[in-house]
């Protein structure tokens, strides 16, 4: 009898019945939802009861001292690291903890690494081509042909990231800043719902930084963007909502002004800087 009740529960959908490829459900607001997440590596608590919500279309900056768990958090969202406990939801329909990295990527979470990684042997155009949101299974990829609309889409992104003149050059010859933009361009080709950007302006010149800020703010609204960054000036120039991480959990959340006046934050983070 209890088994029957188990099966007949009305408020639950069997996992095998829930369509995996269904669109992301953001009717309730948040696109990303982390609750009570814990991760430890050999006893060291990298993430400690982390709770974080990101709304659809939001541009969120995450700051925190080294070792605060920023990169680990990104690893959890993209499926690279599995948390010990807690839950991570994308929209209100997709449990990211049950999905593999490629599944999460094709669901619409794009990630930019700290160190720019582009395919250096391929041209700028080909880099964007591979990133395009298409059928990524073996045989469709093998027989894929370059359609005019794909070409237009790639040219559109090339325009946005200002690499049009370098279209047919191997990505290996690009400067550091250009590689960062190419990587952001690759993320855009995937038409992601959520962009995770890890230290986008590390090693950039002042001008490149401005250009990147412009690019990221232009994306917000259409996509949700989560930026992890050390450079406070840069964060101040783009941020609306800032989350401060410390020792694997959220220390403060709010606008840049609120956060930078928070005494706790000043003590652990800004205090060190000043």
């Amino acid at each position: 009898m209890s088994m029957f009740e188990q099966l007949a529960k009305r408020d639950q959908v069997f996992e095998f019945l829930a369509p995996a490829a269904s669109p992301v459900d953001v009717r309730h607001g948040p696109i990303l939802y982390l609750e009570d997440v814990n991760v430890s590596f050999d006893g060291f608590k990298a993430i400690n009861n982390l709770n974080l919500t990101v709304d659809d279309g939001e541009l969120r900056c995450i700051i925190g001292p080294n070792g605060a768990g920023k990169t680990t958090m990104m690893d959890i969202i993209t499926g690279k690291t599995r948390p010990d406990t807690g839950s991570v939801w994308f929209g209100s329909r997709h449990n990211l903890l049950t999905m593999t990295e490629p599944d999460i990527a094709s669901l619409g979470i794009g990630r930019k690494f700290q160190k720019p990684t582009v395919f250096e042997a391929l041209t700028v155009f080909e880099n964007l081509e591979l990133a395009m949101a298409t059928d990524k299974r073996i045989f469709p990829t093998l027989t894929a042909i370059m359609k005019p609309e794909y070409r237009d889409r790639i040219d559109e992104v090339l325009e946005m990231i200002k690499l049009k003149t370098l279209r047919d050059k191997p990505a290996g010859i690009l400067s550091h800043g250009q590689k960062q933009w190419l990587e952001i361009g690759m993320l855009l080709m995937q038409k992601p719902r959520l962009l995770l950007v890890d230290e986008p302006v590390a090693g950039m010149t002042e001008q490149e930084m401005e250009r990147t800020a412009e690019l990221l703010t232009s994306l917000a609204g259409k996509q949700s963007v989560v930026v992890v960054e050390h450079d406070m000036g840069f964060v101040r120039s783009i941020a609306r909502q800032v989350t401060v991480l410390h020792q694997g959990s959220v220390l403060a959340e709010g606008t840049m002004d609120q956060v930078s006046n928070d005494p706790e934050v000043i003590k652990v983070y800004l205090g060190e800087e000043a």
Binding site: A105, V118, L130, A133, D168
Partner: protein, 379 residues
């Protein structure tokens, strides 16, 4: 359907493939002509021995192309491709053994000589069906393909890459060598399979059959080259290069890296199997020494010499090194391994991109301002 045809035939529109096929086909025609129409005593006459020798080189060339496909474009340094070559060879050898029929030393109509010698009274189950050519030829593809599928599935799923994968492939071929040395395996132990008579009803000891096998090998090389070229010029080829250079990045783009690796690895193993199958009737024997790790390493040396990630470089490397081997082992048998080692060191130091790199450099110097060729050279 239209698109699937286009991707396979696309390489035929490429200049490099046209040149490669042109040279290969001309070579086949010239050799055939010199063999058939030049008088025996002419200096230009190509003897049946030489035709078979050239056929052997072409088998090695196909094998090298298979290795270049996984090493050059996918970044998987396989030190065990000899295993796939040998499995294809054994499948062919089993067919040829069954064709001997009652003409063997012991005159048993079904059992090969070595089984009679071992006092076996029935044919093992895995020898069934090899009397039929079609079955044997399917097994030539299937045996190496299945091994690559199972091995690759386990290795790539566990994300074994780099030097660890190389070591495992080496262990794979070594394990198979030890297994095939055992008489109980039923593959003729250390003597292997030999004393072949007919293939598809043609006597293997006639010059005409030898010439036919040489031409068949040339055609197999051409088709294998086109298949590899079709893969590397497709989007999947670019994904392979992406897996080679930044595996994690490719995974985050949504590609299943392990499946790309598995697909290319299996295709490569099948090509190696075909090379082995064509090799066996030409040299007349297959034994476990083809599984030896040393042979697999030698294949890698051919590819390195010819130039990685070019395919035609692999062909040049395989033919040149094996020609040098034939000449040198004839003149000074002891010097060969030293020469091979020296060659490898010299090429690694002075020609990191191999002979193909040298060709590309010259071509680039000639039309440096032509963006299309400059792009091709760097790709």
């Amino acid at each position: 359907m239209a698109s699937s045809q286009t991707w396979l035939l696309r390489p035929l529109q490429e200049r490099s493939t046209q040149i490669f096929l042109g040279v290969l086909i001309s070579a086949l025609i010239v050799v055939t002509f010199l063999h058939l129409f030049m008088p025996q005593d002419s200096a230009l006459h190509v003897s049946a021995y030489t035709v078979t020798l050239l056929g052997k080189y072409l088998c090695y060339a196909l094998l090298a192309v298979a290795v270049d496909l996984v090493w050059g474009y996918l970044g998987i340094l396989s030190l065990g491709h000899g295993a796939f070559f040998a499995l294809g060879g054994y499948a062919m050898g089993m067919y040829l053994m069954r064709q001997i029929g009652d003409r063997g030393t012991y005159g048993d109509p079904v059992l090969p000589d070595f089984m009679v010698f071992l006092n076996w009274d029935t044919l093992p189950w895995y020898w069934q069906g090899f009397d039929m050519a079609w079955f044997a030829f399917i097994m030539v593809l299937l045996a190496p393909g299945l091994l690559a599928l199972v091995f690759g599935f386990l290795a790539f799923r566990s994300r074994v890459t780099g030097v660890y994968l190389s070591i495992i492939t080496q262990a794979l071929t070594f394990a198979l060598m030890l297994a095939f040395f055992r008489n109980e395996m039923g593959f003729g132990g250390n003597n292997g399979l030999t004393d072949f008579r007919d293939i598809l009803g043609f006597n293997l000891r006639t010059d005409a059959t030898r010439l036919g096998l040489f031409i068949a090998t040339g055609i197999a090389l051409a088709i294998g080259y086109i298949i590899c070229r079709a893969i590397v010029t497709s989007k999947l080829g670019r994904v392979s290069v992406a897996c080679r250079d930044a595996e994690a990045r490719t995974r985050f783009l949504g590609y299943r890296v392990e499946r790309v690796q598995l697909f290319v690895f299996v295709v490569s193993a099948m090509l190696a199997g075909v090379a082995g199958a064509l090799y066996v009737p030409q040299v007349g024997i297959i034994n476990p020494s083809e599984f030896s790790p040393l042979f697999s390493i030698e294949i890698v040396v051919w590819v390195a010499l010819g130039g990685r990630a070019t395919l035609y470089g692999a062909v040049i490397g395989a033919i040149l090194v094996n020609y040098a081997k034939t000449v040198l082992t004839g003149v000074m048998p002891d010097a060969w391994l030293f020469a091979l080692g020296a060659l490898f060191v010299l090429v690694t130091v002075f020609l990191p991109k191999g002979i193909a790199g040298l060709l590309q450099k010259r071509k680039k110097a000639q039309h440096d301002d032509d963006p299309a060729t400059a792009q091709e050279a760097t790709a």
